[in-house]
């Protein structure tokens, strides 16, 4: 009999079925031209992230919030950029922006679509994760990894294979259906570094901001804007030879310990006890079909890796294995 093992993992420490309804938009001549379906979670997030401009508090806790920092208290969120530049979320009111003298507004959309959006989602029971995704056959295939891992680049390249983008950089999950993880469509435009445009052939659009070396890009196969279930979460790893393998067992727990800002915002918002934290992670580990995509960070091998992932997505999204 092999020796019994007990291995320590390297980790730190609303129910109800989701429903959708249809919103019928009419063109000026009153003929029905488009039917959109939005889930209650999407509508809530749209409502809660609406932006107005005006005065905001300088603190939610005892001390004033420091530059490039944030505070969360009583369901509210306050983020301070550089100088006299604040973003304040209050439930039912939305996001208020205060632009003081010297505020660098060129990055306002990055703040609003980044930390502010993730905080509002988290405070309202949604789970933002650091991932970019494509859609195929009514389900979402998401790619995650640390900053610079190539999530956006891969999504842009998969667009050339006919796979539309579902989201870039942040994937928001609706946890309200205990039986299924539902993905809310992306709110961010695709952003790529200069070398990624060369790799993917994506059409370059305007620069994101003065201080951020990325440009917006048009997803080659367009975008999907309806809520869809999560099919797979695929981790981007480095290896000598491109390969895709399933992740099983306790590694699912380890893999979800993302060191990204979205995780800290979610944990601060939910204020889980240890047992609630465990139950949350257990649910994700049980319900997320996780895979790893290993490939060399070598431009000469890029197309081989993209073809491998495209084949994986299409075969799994079509019910294959």
């Amino acid at each position: 009999m092999p020796a019994a093992s007990l291995n320590q993992l390297v980790l730190g420490s609303s129910p109800g079925a989701s429903t959708t309804f249809s919103l019928i938009l009419k063109s000026p001549d009153c003929s029905v031209r488009q039917v959109m379906s939005k889930s209650p979670a999407e509508l809530m997030l749209e409502r809660e992230t609406r932006v107005t401009y005006g005065p905001v508090p300088d603190r939610l806790l005892a001390n004033a919030v420091a530059e490039q920092n944030w505070q969360m208290s009583g369901g509210e969120f306050l983020l301070r950029a550089e100088g006299d530049y604040y973003f304040y979320y209050r439930p039912g009111v939305g996001v208020t922006v205060h632009r003081g003298d010297g505020a660098d507004t060129s990055e306002e959309s990055l703040w609003l679509n980044g930390s502010v959006y993730a905080a509002v989602a988290s405070l309202n029971g949604l789970l933002p994760i650091h991932a970019s995704a494509v859609a195929f056959n009514g389900a979402v295939f998401a790619f995650t990894g640390p900053a610079g891992a190539g999530k956006s680049t891969l999504v842009a390249a998969l667009g050339r294979c006919g796979l539309p983008m579902f989201c870039d950089d942040t994937l928001v999950l609706d946890l309200s259906n205990p039986e299924q993880l539902q993905c809310l469509p992306g709110h961010k435009r695709l952003k790529l570094r200069p070398d990624s445009f060369e790799l993917t052939g994506a059409a370059k659009e305007e620069r994101v901001s003065r201080t951020y070396d990325k440009n917006y890009a048009a997803p080659p196969a367009g975008t999907v804007s309806t809520s869809l279930p999560l099919a797979e979460l695929i981790f981007l790893d480095e290896a000598r030879v491109p390969a895709i393998a399933q992740i099983s067992g306790s590694e699912r727990f380890v893999r979800m310990e993302d060191e990204h800002q979205t995780r800290y915002l979610f944990e601060a918002a939910r204020q889980f006890s240890l047992s609630e934290h465990f139950e949350h992670r257990a649910r994700l580990a049980r319900q997320m079909d996780m895979w790893r995509f290993e490939r060399p960070r070598d431009a000469n091998k890029f197309e081989e890796g993209v073809a491998l992932v495209a084949h994986h997505v299409v075969s799994h999204g079509s019910g294959g294995s």
């Binding site: 009999m1 093992s5 007990l6 993992l9 099983s248 306790s250 240890l274 465990f278 139950e279």
Partner: protein, 88 residues
Amino acid sequence: MNALTKQRDRFAETDVDDEIVLMRLDNGEFFSMAGTAAATWRLIDGKRDRAGLVAALFETFGGDTAAMAADVDAFLDALREMGLIAID
């Protein structure tokens, strides 16, 4: 007979595929158990003692009883030191 009992107020656990993932509620440490460790953990039911545990494992896995008993002792010691089980 000294039955082995799980101290259920001290941990949370879940099955993930063939493994058991467990977290201590006193400090948040996570552990995984697979293979024979998971089988041993599942056999701790508040009724079996050490000898009953070894017999049940032998029935499932076969092999060298003495080596198995030594492995089980080490495993149970680790669980007891962490406060995850008690011996009545």
